[in-house]
């Protein structure tokens, strides 16, 4: 288990992290979300023992980072923001160094090295200096050093930043594969990622936690949750249809997008809209290109929550 207890960090008059308290249990993949400058990186750095908290403390597997930094760090795999490395070294030299500094020796070290090299497909670039690698490979080298000692806790600061969609997918698979018996905390501002890999989403704004829920329940807070979007084949009947829909009691509001010839109907509370709208479509013989039930929009929830938090 990892734990933040009233974690606070101030830089002069600026409070970067403001009295954060939370726990993460094994099996949880926590997505740490928030606008830039919300305190995500500072919080992770306090867990990693890189930034000392102004007050409060972080704890990793029962070891306090301030009192027992070595034991805490030993149980942590950490990918710093931007995946820094020693540019003049090759990935093999670099990983050998990290493994040795983490106390791995002999066969055990070789085995673990080979395992991460295979897992992150670093084979083709092993002999090339890290500074000449593409962003994607650099990130993977950073991930490799974080997991080389098979730690029970992983804290990854923007692990998929700068990766192409295929590489993002690979990293997400890797995280999903490790998720069952580890504690994983990732920070990101890619919202789809939270939905894809996390089973818990913590949103911070101005150093405070403003939401701590599953991605599913976060999405349910969206006003678009269970909304129905109708895309018409032309714009002719758009206004008529809009008026008809507005009259339906279960519909709270509608949004008309004239250019796309689309109407989005937002439900009142938990009302189900698909069936009544389906009936209307038949009744009025609307010609549709598409009829879609929305699960919700994370970015909208994110904006609403973080804007309220900073306001």
């Amino acid at each position: 288990m990892i734990k933040a207890e009233h974690l606070t960090k101030t830089y002069g008059p600026l409070t970067a992290v403001d009295d954060l308290s939370f726990k993460v249990e094994p099996g949880e993949v926590l997505g740490f979300l928030g606008p830039n400058g919300a305190g995500k990186t500072t919080t992770m750095r306090m867990f990693a023992g890189f930034v000392p908290p102004t007050s409060g403390h972080a704890e990793i597997c029962g070891f306090r980072v301030d009192n027992d930094p070595i034991e805490a760090k030993r149980r942590l795999g950490y990918l710093p923001e931007g995946a820094p490395a020693y540019g003049e070294m090759t990935p093999r030299e670099f990983l050998e160094f990290v493994a040795a500094a983490r106390g791995l020796r002999g066969n055990d070290k070789q085995e673990k090295l080979n395992r991460v090299i295979t897992r992150l497909n670093l084979g083709p670039v092993l002999g090339q200096s890290i500074e000449t690698l593409s962003k994607g490979f650099k990130r993977r080298v950073g991930l490799a050093q974080a997991i080389i000692h098979d730690p029970p806790v992983l804290i990854l600061d923007e692990p998929t930043d700068g990766l192409d969609p295929n590489q993002k997918h690979e990293v997400r698979e890797l995280i999903a594969e490790m998720a069952s018996n580890k504690i994983i905390v990732i920070s990101t501002h890619i919202l789809e990622e939270v939905d894809a890999v996390c089973n818990r989403a913590v949103i911070v704004a101005s150093g405070k936690i403003v939401a701590d829920e599953t991605p599913g329940s976060l999405i349910r807070q969206s006003r678009y949750h269970n909304a129905v979007t109708l895309k018409f084949s032309n714009q002719d009947s758009l206004q008529d249809a809009g008026n008809t829909l507005r009259a339906v009691p279960a519909i709270a509001d509608i949004e008309i997008d004239v250019d796309a010839a689309a109407i989005t109907a937002l439900p009142r509370g938990e009302e189900a809209l698909l069936e009544p709208i389906g009936n209307l479509v038949q009744q009025h013989s609307w010609r549709l290109r598409e009829l879609k039930l929305e699960s919700g929009r994370l970015d909208e929830v994110f904006r609403r929550i973080t804007a309220a938090g900073t306001g």
Partner: protein
């Protein structure tokens, strides 16, 4: 296939001054020197300058004496500019590239990191110093020097280089900019050298400082202790002086890093 098991990480005992970890850090650092041309450029400049000063300015032949006083006499001046050039990158570079965050979040203590990097730099100057062996061969070919004195002077020179390096390590830890680190280090090292100069001491005496204080200030000088050792008398106090200077500045390095490693 399950890739990761649930095995907890097991590492050998990692006490505050585990030599193993220090060795790992020092080896990485030292390898870093030779990964770029910096190390070779430094070695060439050091050896060329040492030779030029000894034979050109030192009157090595004209003195018609089989010793290496002209050679060692210039070491402090060589170090004044060359050692800060090695030291400036020690921490400033880690800070600039962000790798300091990686190093500081590995299970190593500040002392291990500081000592490891310092030992690498010191080892490198030891290599540079050792490569001056042709001078030693020359003097042995030309006459019968007291090799004990020469050995003592080499030891003193290495200790003095360590002192300069430790100062540079601390200044490098406080600065992200290597050029700034270089200049400040040169200034401080120059100060430590000046303390032992007769004209400076004379100036202090003229200013009416008590003799005891002047002696104390002169006692802090790199030059005085180096000259004492290089005469062939390895006094424990002189050796201790340099080790203490090194320890003090390295301790200051850990404090500076602890305070502002993330800045």
């Amino acid at each position: 296939m399950k890739f990761f098991g649930a095995s907890p990480p097991q590492a050998p005992g990692n006490t505050a001054l585990n030599m193993d970890v220090i060795k790992v850090i020092a080896a990485r650092e030292l390898r870093g020197y030779f990964a770029t041309p910096v190390a070779y450029v430094f070695l060439v400049i050091f050896l060329a300058m040492a030779g030029f000063l000894t034979f050109g300015f030192g009157g090595f032949y004209a003195r018609r004496q089989a010793d290496l006083q002209p050679f060692f006499g210039f070491h402090a001046w060589l170090y004044l500019f060359l050692v800060p050039a090695i030291a400036m990158r020690l921490w400033a570079e880690e800070r600039k590239s962000g790798s300091i965050e990686l190093l500081m979040t590995l299970p190593v203590t500040l002392w291990q990191a500081v000592l490891g990097k310092f030992l690498a730099a010191w080892g490198f100057t030891a290599v540079a110093l050792a490569l001056t062996f042709p001078v030693w061969i020359t003097v042995n070919y030309l006459g019968n020097p007291d090799n004990g004195v020469i050995f003592a002077a080499y030891l003193g020179s290495l200790l003095m280089a360590g002192g300069f390096l430790a100062i540079g390590s601390c200044i490098s830890a406080a600065n992200r900019n290597q050029v700034v680190a270089f200049i400040i280090t040169v200034v401080i090292c120059f100060g430590f050298m000046l303390l032992g100069f007769e004209p400076v001491l004379g100036l202090l005496a003229a200013a009416g400082l008590p003799q005891g204080l002047i002696d104390a200030i002169a006692g802090l000088s790199f030059l005085a202790h180096f000259q004492a050792i290089s005469k062939g008398v390895i006094d424990l106090r002189d050796v201790l002086y340099f080790l203490l200077v090194i320890a003090t500045w390295l301790y200051a390095t850990t404090i500076v890093l602890g305070m502002r490693k993330a800045d």
